[in-house]
Symmetry: C2
Subunit: 548 residues, 2 copies
């Protein structure tokens, strides 16, 4: 059984820009940018990527490509982002259009599928149930990271076994970093397997020069914005609650910012700004309190606060506290393994530096427990498990109590916390994401067919209508920097954080004083797949503001 | 600034059944059902409603009504439900079509607006910004209850001041009960003001004989089902989380049931069944554990559990515990007012009956604190503040640990809790709710224009296409029962709970064993306002199953 909408989504034909459409079998690459790309790149990257460094950005035009039979492998890596199926289906369709003998092999459950040779042949029968759907369930995904030469050799063997010419890695910053290293490994070892990446992540933090946006960001943000808009409309009717809404997005605050631009909440905190200006927890809470007091003076004891998931690490004293806890926990793993929750809380409280102790002591106990309860696979504090919205609600309440004692606040404060994340990662992709992913799949094909490796598929002018989109290939090495980890230099694609000089943030700044006081909420409503194009085919506002 | 969808929703023309359309000025009532309505009614209701009892259900047909100039007052009562604005706008449009001198006065902020004479004249200029929007912000709502003769006299004065002929009360079971009492008060005191109710509540529990469904239920359920469907798709991709999703809906489990029918989760708990069969907390958790173990045996360590908000009171031993805590707290208000949280927890633990003590002691501390922390205006435990999903997650974990010790469970259990409520109460109404509410507003007008009082507007055959809808008036007294509260007999409209012999529940029962084991999730996607009618104009499944 399936939903009515599901059946119609399976029938939707994603739009394609000119050269990727019916004449994709005539697509060839053309050099459109050179050297300048590498201006700011760490010279050590050139050293690390001797065979794949220094390539140009390429465009795609009509020409007479050499044809050869292709076997392509594809893998999904990391968390779900709406549109992943369409990348695979776009790639499949392009392969099909360009040669009867072409084949696509999907590796199952993420990169581990390459190590274990778990796979399925992607064909028409399979893809017909997944076109324009959310989720990564067609071939599955996983978080295994391919990093060592030994793993690369196994991957090479798996690929040779299938006669694979090229591997497409659909993933975020980490996975594309690994894709670049894998491409270099193959090239330097004379293994004739190309590697091409595709930029995926709802967090919107894989975005550099040639890559305007990662897929899934649009759908996830529009889903969260629907909920925020509904809650805001409810708040303005009930007139008795402040809603503190935490939004997924790891370190970067792109999701919170996009949602704020779509819904106009009273407060939207931006982690990057808090870090840059070294704003303390107390000051962060004050910003919210200022809005609460100003609105209470107008008789409005309700409001909306957006809190990015990564915020807590960006608050200077909490960031220091978390690093110190990480150190403590990793250096005393044995000792603390015997402690129960309460004992661990006490132990940590006693072993912190004198400067950090009061910060830890000032946290509500529930938050302190969250910091210690959940640890990531490296034993570090799992930031996403900390209910920052509840921390803020508590500190705000304390400040309001103080003001009330002094007679400076007479309102009522009832707060409700929310966290949205899983609600938007596997939604049916918006028409934007459905089209974008289908085009990225086609682009990946053209890069492969033209013999490129160490590239990532991208679309220029993605903020314009699809017929104006320009498919591109961007060399992965042009996105890289060097980071020292565990005493070693490692190449990384850095997460693109919110640019405090960028148009999206500037738009927030230009409006937020008004939004803090007024009830200027916008309710974007649920994602529409039908209807007038200005409703059904809207590019993300962050993208539009950045590109215009 | 407003969203693109918002502009288009303002332009949507709700569909109307024949006689309510262009010829609404020709609409007259016709008696379509009699006496039998009152078969099961407590004879004391006849006593209490001497002037409004015993009336027939009326239909609406084309005729030659007497015309007189009407001034109508309207009030929204209680929590938001999508479509409230359309009831008011439907009423306004009908008044406008039927007489130039007709006027509509909206009382502000709920029934208190009637007591304080706070109002706005509803006119074209105002309504144009609210058509087909969610929220109750056009005139506001409130929870003040009109109950005493003194309050009724004030309401009468307010109405006389405006020359009001009739009052329309848009509300749930409580508000419509009060509307019935008010109608009787006016009739018995020779005050020529009619009172007509409109059935509102997302909870879906105002549903009896002549009333097939309350408005807002459809939109709220479809919004929650969108989120559940997205989370389920995500779970089936990530394959590592069990999501425990609590859904708003007060006592009744209609919302959880409708969402289950739309999304096919692994487990959907129904409070009414648990009460009826006296299923203990341990047994409730076992039901979930059975599904977890069966799925783990297939390698599927993920799933979806739906938990109705009212569940906890229906679990026999917890229901008893909550009643006892309510008694304790109300009889010892002074003594406990001095205690802090920890002390109160200890105090309650010591003062419970010996039979109840172990139940309280077995609760996770966080849940015990939630029971004591939030109290409703009557000092009772606020059931909606208890995170039942977390209670279940804890008890399930304990049972799984026991099974694992015995070697009977080898899976991994990671649970994530969610609560959805405010996300759906103020959404843009679905086309169904938009049409239904517009028709209810027109129906209320016709009942008024034909001189009725003590009636509630309703639509028969609401599961069919709009042209087959039959507008009706149902006497409020036909919905009533007598309940003894504080040593007094009170008339009430009882909440309609899930019928364990009804088709919707039977459909769940027929499928749930399969759903518990398999991954049969359906993702209905976000509400669509455009596109094919089988996507954009779907009646609630509960309604369709009940009526067919």
């Amino acid at each position: 059984m399936s939903a009515a909408l599901h059946k119609y989504r399976l029938q939707y034909d994603p739009k394609l820009p000119g050269v990727l459409g019916k004449i994709v079998d005539k697509a060839v690459i053309t050099e459109i940018e050179n050297g300048s790309l590498y201006h700011d790149i760490d010279p050590r990257i050139a050293e690390m990527f001797k065979h794949t460094y220094g390539k140009p950005v390429v465009g795609i035009v009509k020409g007479q490509p050499q044809q050869k039979e292709l076997v392509v492998g594809v893998v999904l890596s990391g968390g779900q982002a709406p549109g992943g199926h369409n990348v695979i289906i776009g790639l499949h369709e392009a392969l099909k259009k360009c040669g009867d003998g072409n084949r696509l092999i999907g590796f199952l459950g993420g990169p581990s599928g390459l190590l274990e040779n778990k796979y399925m042949v992607v064909n028409d029968k399979i893809v017909k149930d997944y076109k324009n759907t959310g989720g990564f369930d067609m071939i599955g995904s996983g978080r295994t990271k391919l990093k060592t030469a030994q793993e690369f050799a196994i991957v090479a063997n798996t690929c040779k076994h299938h006669g694979i010419n090229a591997l497409v890695v659909i993933g975020g910053d980490d996975s594309n970093t690994n894709a670049a290293v894998l491409a270099e490994y193959f090239a330097s070892n004379g293994i004739a397997i190309q590697v091409v990446g595709v930029p995926k992540t709802i967090d919107g933090d894989l975005k550099h020069g040639g890559i305007e946006i990662s897929f899934g960001f649009d759908t996830a943000c529009k889903t969260y914005a629907e909920l925020i808009g509904n809650i805001a409309r409810d708040a303005n009717s009930a007139k008795k609650y402040w809603h503190f809404i935490r939004l997924m997005g790891r370190s970067a605050s792109h999701i919170a910012l996009e949602c704020a631009l779509l819904t106009q909440p009273n407060v939207c905190l931006i982690g990057e700004e808090i870090k840059e200006k070294k704003i303390s927890l107390k000051q962060v809470a004050s910003t919210i309190v200022d809005s609460i007091v100003a609105r209470a003076n107008q008789g409005n004891n309700f409001g909306i606060v957006l809190v990015p998931e990564g915020l807590i690490e960006f608050i200077p004293e909490i960031g220091v506290l978390i690093s110190e806890i990480n150190e403590l926990l990793s250096h005393n793993a044995l000792e603390i393994s015997k402690l129960d929750k309460e004992e661990l809380l006490k132990w940590v409280g006693e072993h912190l530096l004198d400067t950090t102790k009061p910060v830890f002591a000032s946290l509500p106990q529930a938050i302190a427990l969250q910091m210690l309860a959940e640890r990531d696979p490296h034993g570090n504090v799992q930031v996403s498990a900390i209910k920052t919205e509840e921390l803020l609600m508590t500190v705000v309440q304390q400040q309001l109590d103080n003001l009330a004692t002094k007679g400076e606040y007479k309102g009522k404060f009832n707060a409700i916390g929310h966290f949205f994340g899983y609600e938007g990662r596997a939604a049916y992709p918006t028409n934007f994401d459905a089209d974008y992913c289908f085009a990225l799949g086609h682009t990946a094909y053209v890069l492969i067919a033209n013999g490129l490796t160490g590239y990532i598929a991208s679309i220029k002018n993605s903020h314009l209508s699809v017929d104006q989109w320009q498919p591109q290939g961007v060399p992965l090495t042009s996105l890289m920097a060097v980071e020292r980890r565990h005493g070693q230099d490692n190449p990384v694609i850095k997460k693109a954080l919110v640019d405090l000089n960028g148009n999206p943030f500037k738009k927030l700044v230009a409006n937020r004083e008004q939004w803090a006081i007024n009830t200027d909420y916008i309710n974007p409503g649920p994602i529409q797949y039908f209807g007038p194009v200005e409703v059904s085919d809207i590019a993300p506002m962050t993208l539009v503001l950045e590109q215009s």
